[in-house]
Assembly symmetry: C2
Homo-oligomer: 147 residues x 2
Amino acid sequence: MAYEQLKLDNQLCFRLYTAARLTMGAYHPYLDPLGITYPQYLVLLVLWEQDKQPVNDIAHKLFLETNTVTPLLQRMEKAGLVKRTKGKEDTRQRIVSLTKKGIEMREQAKHIPDCLSNEIIQITGEEEEFVRMIPTLDKLIEGLKQQ
Amino acid sequence: MAYEQLKLDNQLCFRLYTAARLTMGAYHPYLDPLGITYPQYLVLLVLWEQDKQPVNDIAHKLFLETNTVTPLLQRMEKAGLVKRTKGKEDTRQRIVSLTKKGIEMREQAKHIPDCLSNEIIQITGEEEEFVRMIPTLDKLIEGLKQQ
DNA sequence: TCAATTTATATCGTTCACGATGCAAAAATA
DNA sequence: TATTTTTGCATCGTGAACGATATAAATTGA
């Protein structure tokens, strides 16, 4: 029967949606003391890997629209984590760079990934199946990226 | 080196977050014609399985807070999909029930799960590894549910 | 029975997320 | 070179998510 398919239990997307929300929630104890949110943490990860990037590059790496990232960066600028300067070759661009505070936060945050994986392992028992999920998720993301 | 851990590529949560957003986006072509959003679709799934539930039960099944679900239901009531009546035994409760429109939408929506799985299979080639992901996600959700 | 506590829902404020739209600068093309 | 198109970013409006708080009703317990 077709209605069977409409059961919540059958849905992969619901699990992704829920797991994503709850995992983000698990970052709270680590990000709250730093005064940042999970999306802001992602922006910092991008900038810690390479400082001074235009808005578009950051958005692209996070698979977000610029109209999501722009206000995010404005809030981060207000919080003193980044500054946004006009591009020199291309004046349409806004180059986002880390402030002293943004650079220093890297040191405070460097333990977070370990904390999170430990937590996940402790909570769920095993690590291997989560590692195995990564290439599958990458395939899904890659496939859905272009409509 | 500890900083290696801070690379975006290493992060499972980022993939969950991204996959969830993009998958929700894949529902747009099917939900837009019905005039509903993905979270509203989830509420309908819950109510199609069992009509007339208090807010709390719906929230619990979706792993959401009631302060997320209440405004969601208010919008759905305004859209004529559900109605919210005072509980009879417990007058604190609001019993949410489907309207005629909400009931009828089940028929229009019954093909959506098949469409989505076909899309995912077509996009990513294989089905099996996504099915395999489900119990792992359930384990993660179950573990993170209680703090 | 009456006060204290818990429960069910609602309201408020902030931050995302994103479609639609606007605008200026750059690039392409006539 | 002048015009058209594209690009990069910003703004606006709407709908989640959720922490904090409020409120009334139910429950507990003294």
